[in-house]
């Protein structure tokens, strides 16, 4: 199995699906000539031509709206939003249109559309190149939301997303693009949407997280393991639909849950997870449902000193694990 950085797994996933299925299009800003600002679409123009790798004007509503139309007319577009922060001009097209075409047409029309976007902080991206936007979309019936944490999952989940008959938001942590490397199975590799992954087994508490935070959490779990604390780390992989069975099964076993994410705490994915656990695993809980998340500021400031202050680091996670384990 070849070893790839996460961004290379994105490219491999796009490449293989485009090669397999002529309906797959890539559309976005700077995706053709430049190959994407992070290189995720590099080489696709040369191989598949400008009919299928489309440099779009700087207008996100148009990118998504056009992709919706193409999806309705038989294509499988993969739209790229250059940074997740720039997805809001397309909010209406995503929430009011893509998410509802099937429901409102009583099943007559579908919208097989994938929207990719790099997200997350820690790269001096400041307020508008650092945001986590997944919670907005995880609230919306009709959408699916995926956040991969490893290169293998990235390729496998992206393949599943492109083949999915419904609109999927696919968020890639930009700080993971080059820093996270791993083996990726050769040939067809599909990781089904909606299934969480037990990234580390443990019996003292369940840590639920996703994206780059999986790696921070695994580091923290390793640290506290030296003190005899065995943390089970769940990588959600898909945020909508949430794999609540896996979460509940684990929490019922460990009796404690720590939820970790980079997005700001209020109304984040952690809120929904806490609600599910508090309702459905209530009798099993031996400690407060605990969240360790980004603070409630509008994304992350530029200066390194400020950015460090808001990031959820392995050290902060280890501290939260210790506190909850000791409860």
């Amino acid at each position: 199995m070849p070893t790839m950085a996460l961004v290379e797994a994105v490219r491999a996933g796009l490449h293989d699906e485009m090669a397999r299925d002529a309906r797959v299009l890539v559309m976005g800003e700077d995706v053709a000539n430049k190959g994407g600002v992070f290189g995720a679409t590099k080489g696709l123009l040369e191989e598949f031509g400008e009919g299928r790798v489309i440099d779009m004007p700087l207008a996100e509503s148009n990118i998504v709206g056009t992709a919706i139309g193409a999806a309705v007319n038989g294509m499988r577009p993969v739209a790229e939003i250059q940074f997740a922060d720039f997805i809001f001009p397309a909010m209406d097209q995503i929430v009011s249109e893509a998410a509802r075409i099937r429901y409102r047409s009583n099943g007559a029309f579908g919208c097989p559309l994938t929207i990719r976007a790099p997200f997350g902080g820690g790269v001096h991206g400041a307020l508008y190149h650092s945001q986590s936007v997944e919670a907005f979309f995880a609230h919306v019936p009709g959408l699916k939301v995926v956040v991969p944490s490893t290169p293998a999952d990235t390729k496998g989940l992206l393949t599943a997303a492109i083949r999915d008959p419904d609109p999927v938001l696919f968020f890639e942590h930009k700080a993971a693009y080059r820093s996270i490397k791993g083996e990726v199975p050769e040939g067809e590799h599909v990781v089904p949407l909606g299934k969480a992954h037990v990234a580390r087994s443990g019996k003292h508490l369940t840590l639920v997280t996703y994206g780059l935070s999986v790696h921070h959490s695994l580091k923290a779990a390793e640290t506290v393991a030296h003190d005899g604390i065995e943390t089970e780390v769940l990588d959600l992989r898909t945020l909508r639909p949430l794999d609540k069975e896996t979460v509940l099964e684990s929490v019922k076993r460990t009796n404690k849950v720590l939820i970790v994410h980079e997005d700001n705490v209020t109304g984040g994915i952690g809120a929904e997870l806490a609600a599910i656990v508090g309702q459905e695993a209530f009798e099993y809980l031996d400690g407060p449902i605990t969240r360790l998340c980004g603070p409630d500021v509008p994304a992350w400031p530029f200066a390194a000193s400020l950015e460090q202050a808001v990031l959820v680091t392995p050290e902060k996670i280890a501290e939260s694990i210790r506190t909850l384990a000791a409860y």
Binding site: G65, S96, E97, R102, R104, G107, A108, F109
Partner: protein, 371 residues
């Protein structure tokens, strides 16, 4: 359900949609009430090169749409249905444009006003009434959406939301897909003048212009967005003024003249089908009644203005022209109106007997159901 139909099929030299040669009287229950008249295959000089039958079909659709709408208002006043979205005053622009495309081949993204577009494309009175009454078998949404939120896969009419202007971008996407596959269908999208104030209008025209997409933008400019006059919505004098900066031809048309609209639309369709790119057509029309059954238009526009426009009713104008050309006479008009009344009665009874949606289905189709 009537099969996809087109009035203008036989006029389109080299159209690959020739297989779809039905017309309104050719299929479904409408044919039971065929209108009598002069020989149907003669093209009438000066009347947009249309045949007698095509001209009579146009007249029929205008009359049917108006008849259906009158019934809807009745049912609404009787408290039977909560919501009417009128079309009256727009029928000329709608029938004129829809006649020029090939139903079932060309893609259509209409807006809520477009009842006459849908009828011309081949949606039946029964279908319209089913959706109006939110019945389970309503083709557009099975009672999920408000009336007039069109959707018909077999007519290539794409499901619409209530978000004004959002369909403009879908139209460019549909056209892009057709073009990429090398197909020669065209895409038509309809919208009101208010929609031209929104960003999606600009983004859609710009993209269509850049990519020379086979898409036709039809604006039904009735001078109002609910209560707001056009000069509050738009700095442009005419919607068609936006064409130039988006690398496409634009035309401002008398939307009350179904035949003039048809001719302009035919040119735009031919241009798009040839691969020469998009067109922006603006049809100046007027909404004869309030915005919807929830609106009271007396607050924002004078009665005299409404009355003046009613003198230019597209039905009156068409009847006059067809009368002068000897295609239509009073007897034929009366016959058409009787036919429409029968069809509207039939559709109303049919829809009233039809079942509403089962509440147990409310969670279905949020996502694709497994095969």
């Amino acid at each position: 359900m009537i099969e996809p139909t087109t009035l203008s099929e036989r006029d389109q030299e080299g159209s690959s949609g020739a297989a779809l040669n039905g017309h309104a009287n050719g299929n479904g229950h409408a044919s039971e009430h065929a209108v009598h008249g002069p020989p149907s295959n003669v093209r009438v000089t000066g009347l947009a090169g249309l045949s007698t039958q095509q001209l009579l079909n146009a007249h029929y659709y205008l009359t049917l749409c108006r008849g259906l709408e009158e019934r809807m208002w009745q049912l609404n006043r009787q408290g039977k249905m909560p919501f009417v979205v009128p079309c009256a005053g727009h029928e000329g622009a709608q029938v004129g444009t829809a006649m020029a495309i090939t139903s079932g081949k060309d893609w259509v993204l209409p807006y809520y006003r477009d009842t006459a577009v849908m009828l011309t494309l081949g949606m039946t009175a029964r279908d319209v009434m089913l959706d109006f009454m939110a019945r389970a078998d309503g083709p557009c949404s099975g009672g999920r959406q408000m009336p007039n939120h069109w959707s018909c896969p077999n007519l290539r009419v794409v499901s619409q939301s209530s978000i004004v202007g959002s369909q403009i971008l879908h139209a460019t996407g549909v056209a892009l897909a057709s073009k990429l596959r090398g197909e020669d269908d065209v895409t038509v999208t309809y919208f009101g003048d208010g929609a031209t104030a929104g960003g999606d209008f600009h983004e859609g025209l710009n993209f269509a212009g850049i990519k020379k997409l086979p898409v036709i933008f039809v604006c039904e400019n009735n001078g109002y967005a609910i209560s707001e006059t056009f000069d509050k919505e738009s700095a442009a004098k005419n919607v068609a003024d936006h064409a130039a900066a988006n690398a496409m031809p634009g035309e401002t048309l008398d939307g009350m003249d179904v035949l003039g609209v048809y001719e302009a639309m035919k040119r735009a369709v031919a241009r798009a089908r040839r691969g020469d790119g998009p067109t922006l057509l603006e049809c100046k029309v007027y909404r004869f009644v309030p915005h919807t059954s929830d609106d009271d238009d007396r607050v924002y526009r004078p009665r005299e203005e409404v009355e003046r426009w009613k003198q230019r009713d597209p039905i009156l104008i068409l009847r006059r022209r067809l009368g002068e050309a000897g295609v239509l006479d009073d007897a034929l008009v009366a016959e058409t109106e009787r036919r429409v009344r029968r069809e509207v009665d039939d559709a109303t009874e049919f829809a009233e007997r039809a079942a509403g949606p089962d509440p147990a289905t409310v969670m279905r189709h949020v996502y694709a159901e497994d095969a």
